[in-house]
Amino acid sequence: MNLDLIRKDFPQLHQGFIYFDSGSTSLKPAPVINAVKDYYEKLSASVGRGLHRPSNKATFAYQEAHDKVRSFFNTKGHVIFTKNCTEAINIVAHGIEWQAGDRIVTTYLEHNSNLLPWFNLRSRGVEVIVVKCTPDGTINLKELADSITKKTKLVAVSHASNVLGSIVPVEEVVEHARKKGAMVLVDGAQAAPHLVVDMERIGCDFYAASGHKMLGPSGTGILLINQDILDRLKPMMLGGGSATDVEFEKITFTKGPALFEAGTPNIAGAIGLGAAVDYLKNIGMEKIRKHELELTAYLIEQLKSVDEITIYGPKDINKRTGVVSFSIKDIPAHRIAIILDEVGDIAIRSGNHCAFLLTHKILKQETGTARVSFYLYNTLTEIEHFMNVLKQAFCNV
């Protein structure tokens, strides 16, 4: 992996700023930016509607982006483009026909995106069981398995924590769910950009991901649906493209995943996402993973050398992604972040990371944590600068 060449592809890296907040959204490489620009300059037309050539070309490019994503995740299932991972999960929450007494099993590890849509169903009599995790982000799989009953319709888990970076053994979760006939949704927002994700191997029913966290444009997300499940799901929105015929008495709905992409979609974003997936594939997810592990190991080693710092997440480096949450004595996380920004031109994330149950109930951090999150374009030199600024600003080192 040629880091110098990769970094040249990311214009924002040349603004003199260190970007350690890829867990929120990733930077975009030139091929993605150019793909979006090209659409607006050369292909701008709606998809699936017109007979004119620009519309045909846009349609083909839009469909091709779906195919690229399907191949990236190694799935024979359906690919639905959404505006983000949150929308992808909400499509499932709104799409399943819930009955009072149905059970959903989820965990303390979850981002609000994979918690609030389920909590919202409690008003319809759906029971939501939240399985605990340890402070290092390990889910108690026995407790999870015991929570799955015949009444469990869905198990919803993260593939990797956005706070702790801990990787969840989702294949095992699927195995437990299958024994009781429950469906499984995996929130892959923090895993898809960083790990080799093989939907066929995981065997889940739904896999949700954020396009914008994996080099794609803002406003892009992905919902992968197992082939056999699609017909059991009702669309959250209806509109253009949802029906092949409409009469007062009868509506003939569109068949297939297009039913879940009502209205004119984010065409430029989808094409950009296709370019992002190409970019990641060309480099290779194994190489990206290896690079991020090297960065993560180095940062943890450096942070450990400072007494005032507490690091969160798994001790075994292989069980985590490139996310490292930490705190410094009793200094509020937001203060750490704003000082790093002002003094060191370093962007990190601070606070609760939209995972309140985890930061408060498990980590006991009322003001949350400071979080560094890496991607393929980060370097060891950036970590050295980060550590120098951190020590000078906060520690008597």
Partner: protein, 99 residues
């Protein structure tokens, strides 16, 4: 007192405690070293942390501030604190570069 224009951004709050981020429209370019009756908790060449009776404020020469641990719905109080800090800034002997 000079006209300090800024955006006040309320950050996530929890357990009745709020944080506010003060983002100036133009850079001040100077960090006071004397905060009068207010206790300076941290003095660093690039930032200061000052204690108010009801909160803590981190200040930068840029004019950015982080107001920490105010009670819930304290937007008016945040504006008062900012005015107080700017008054100190003005009295500190150096006129801000971009009033």
């Amino acid at each position: 007192m000079f006209d300090f224009k800024y955006r006040l951004i309320r950050l996530c709050h929890r357990g009745g405690v709020e944080f506010y981020h003060v983002y100036p429209e133009s850079e001040i370019g100077y960090l006071p070293q004397d905060y009068g009756d207010l206790k300076m908790l941290v003095s660093h060449p690039r930032f200061s942390v000052v204690s108010f009776p009801d909160c803590t404020v981190t200040l930068f020469a840029s004019g950015r501030m982080l107001i920490e641990n105010l009670p819930e719905d304290s937007e008016n109080r945040a504006h008062t604190i900012i005015r107080e800090i700017i008054s100190i800034w003005c009295q500190s002997g150096t006129t801000p570069t971009h009033p």
